[in-house]
Amino acid sequence: MARRVIDPLTRIEGHLRFEVEVEDGVVTDAWVSGSLYRGMEKILLDRRPSDAFYVSQRICGVCPISHGHASTMATEDALGITIPNNARIVRNLIEAAQYIHSHILWFYTLAALDYVDPVKALSADIADTYALAQAAGTGVSDFGAVANRLQAFVDGGQLSIFTNGWFGHPAYAEDMPAELHLIGVAHYLEALEMQARANEIVAIMGGKFPHFMTSLPGGTTFIPTEQKLDDILFRFLELNEWITNTMIPDTLAIAPFYAGAFEYGGGHGNFLSWGVFNDESFEGVNRYMPSGVIKVAEGLTVADADPANVTEDVGRAWYSSPSGLNPSVGEADAEWTDYDTDDRYSWTKAPRYDGAPMEAGPLSRMLVAYLRGVQPVQELVDGALAALGAAGRPEILVSLLGRVAARNLEAKIVSDWSLEWTNELIAAVAGGDSNYFQPHSVDAGQGNGMWEAPRGALGHHITVEGGKIARYQVVTPSTWDCSSRDDDGVRGPMEEALIGTPIIDPERPLEACRVARSFDP
């Protein structure tokens, strides 16, 4: 039995460490440690609720839009504010642009190098690469130029961000053709353009990305002009075309070479979504991606999700505040002891729903939406399952490959909806609705902002007294997924998902890195 440590886990947002026990080529135990404490919740105390909109975004530079929205929704819940319909649509569009950016960035920039080996791409035949791209129905780039650029780069001898990569690792699919590796490299470069295009939409509606400016409590300060609506629509169209004709076909072309990843990486099989993208009712269950809770062990059925059922344990994390508090009355008093996997080993608390660990993220949302009968989700998931030879078996999505596929399929769905919502906004503006902001004067209350970042369930919880913040707690998706063990010793979702992962080379546990990254922590 060997203990193997990966620290830092690169190609993620933030700082993360994990350790795995490997026995007979399989992971038998795992510990995941969040390595950074900043104390955001204490920084927000005694400030104005609107300040939390700006500052709390800085929790995450990859998903600041979701934090901004959860914060502003918590304040609106606390102070009884209902935002105008136009503001609802504007927020959905900004959120959608961030989702599209985040999912593209995750698959190509962060995760792809675990599946695509740039060195293998060097031996691709260019004509065959075009033929393969056409057969796979994916986007055609100037593959010759990409190959030349890659060759010139390798010949230069300075490997930049590829230095010390695990090239030629045996866990790269042996039978995946060099031409598909080259397609992956070409689209890695295209994806950098596309994620930036998505963020141009955020900048148009929110001033800049990361960290946007406009979704203040009460609505939005962005008032569209015809020109800006046009600028937004043509970018969403370009992204939709690229996701449909490059990202989805790439996913379906690469997945069969890693079909073994349907067999492990699933974890507890507990899924939580608070729901995201409001319709006119503003109800979690009615959101485009609705809220819900699934425990696969109890059957493929979905129950309503209630923030009152959340508690946080801290027995294995570096906090001295009590375990078992609901976030609306939560505390976070940091207390460093020592790094010890038998005792305390993480800055990440252990949130639990009805006492159980919950996976958060696109897989949770897609499963909840599927079981709640959201039609475009059902059609897309059923189609992908059929394409991968698993028709009628949605349960196989509870796996590493399922988690990867769910994220990419969600990018397609959100992208489709973004066009619908842009047209909805255009129609509202054309119809003369010019209301974007609801002034407000209440200065006390308690509220919850339950929302979904691209990487999963997010809750901001605020208590306002005399116009100032008296209590603020945040439960992020990575707190759910990268949770330390709870006070009963039950592993967090990522820890559990690592169990059973096959490891070809214990010195270089690439498969375990894939599982950890699949959560987009």
Binding site: P8, R48, A196, A203, D231
Partner: protein, 389 residues
């Protein structure tokens, strides 16, 4: 520059998949940022291309949100791929490195051994809390990583407000005892020059401009870069004018056309946001010129008042962000010109505005809108110290 040189450069660029037009556009934007005339474009082009070797660099994350890396990924011309494949050899970067774990750290280690040859880019606050265990990397503290990386670097670029002075992380009560790179290195007696690029996140165009300026044009070796920095080690060509100075809505300010409440006709007309808390008058960055996300927009253009994220101690100085800044008397700071006061006196950044406000009050332009903040106890303490630092 001879014609044949041009052609050699463009052949090389063509091999890298970069068109001549895009490349010249990118050199032109760097020239503009550096305050150089467009006649310098060929020189910049040659400087970028003549390096047979890519410039070694390491990008470390302190107490970061990864937002500055994200911002870097939004670069237009050159795009981020050009930066990390054709300009820098970025041999360790938390968010981009193919390697992981100890292999990734070993790549960084190999760079640190090449004393004086590499640029260190640092994102996020320096985390001193819990004996440095507020941030742990590779089984060590984040402080150890910085102390290890800093001494051998040719220069350190502190990207984003967190790396500059601790940013939001050091806002009251500073729960994790955060600080900035320059302050921490001074504490440790490490004298590697630090170039500070505040705002939250930093604008990626500035990073490219600084890299080109510092290393490819050789201004580090000659010491010329130091002359280009202000007393807070920020490049003057970026941070010497206020947002208010260059704001496209400045005309509305001068004409007395203000937004006094969101959701109003005045807001739809794009009037000046000063009365709903805009920190443009006291925030020293060139945001209105450089703009954001491939220049498509910036905060004020989206209808949002500036929150002053480029000011030092920006959260405690700027919040409550939607209130107008507390009106402060000028502290005793000697002969400093009023136009630079706000930039210099970080802790009482309203000073410059207070001077400006004399004229504004005379014309009645300060009435209405959001309330002014009262002076805070912490401001008084800083004022007593006489410098606000």
């Amino acid at each position: 520059m001879a014609h044949e040189d041009h052609d050699a450069i463009y052949d090389l660029l063509a091999a890298r998949g970069v068109s001549r037009r895009d490349f010249l556009k990118y050199c032109g934007s760097i020239a503009a940022l550096l305050g150089l005339s467009q006649s310098f474009v060929p020189e910049i082009a040659r400087a970028v291309n003549q390096a047979a070797r890519l410039q070694p660099a390491v990008w470390l994350h302190g107490g970061a949100c990864t937002g500055c890396t994200e911002s870097m990924a939004q670069l237009g011309t050159p795009d981020i791929a050009t930066v990390v494949l054709d300009i820098l050899s970025l041999e360790f970067a938390d968010t981009l490195s193919m390697a992981q774990g100890e292999d990734a750290l070993a790549a960084a280690e190999a760079v640190f051994e090449r004393e004086g040859e590499y640029i260190l880019i640092y994102e996020g606050a320096v985390m001193k809390g819990f004996e440095g265990n507020a941030l742990r990397v590779g089984g060590m503290t984040g402080l150890y990583e910085l102390e290890h990386a800093a001494p051998g670097a040719a220069a350190i670029v502190a990207v984003g407000s967190c790396a500059v002075d601790g940013g939001f992380v050091m806002a009251n009560p500073n729960p994790a005892d955060a600080t900035g790179v320059q302050a921490y290195l001074e504490e440790k007696g490490i004298d590697t020059p630090v170039i500070n690029l505040p705002t939250c996140p930093m604008n990626p165009d500035w990073v490219v401009a600084v890299i080109v300026d510092v290393l490819l044009l050789g201004s580090l070796e000659t010491g010329a870069i130091l002359d280009k920095l202000d007393r807070f080690n920020r490049p003057k060509y970026i941070f010497s004018q206020t947002i208010h100075d260059n704001c496209p809505r400045r005309g509305h300010f001068e004409n007395g056309n203000f937004v006094t409440e969101f959701g109003t006709e005045e807001e739809a007309k794009g009037y000046c946001l000063y009365k709903v808390g805009c920190k443009g008058p006291q925030t020293y960055t060139n945001c209105p010129i450089v703009r954001w996300n491939r220049k498509v927009s910036w905060c004020v253009e989206s209808g949002a008042p500036c929150i002053g994220c480029g000011s030092l101690d920006w959260v405690d100085v700027g919040a409550p962000f939607l209130n107008r800044h507390r009106d402060l008397p000028l502290p005793n700071i000697g002969n400093t010109q009023p136009s630079t006061i706000a930039g210099v006196v970080a802790g009482v950044a309203a000073a410059g505005l207070a001077v400006h406000g004399i004229g504004m009050k005379a014309t009645g332009r300060t009435s209405g809108g959001a309330p002014y903040e009262e002076m805070k106890e912490r401001d008084r303490k800083r004022m007593k110290k006489g410098g606000g630092e």
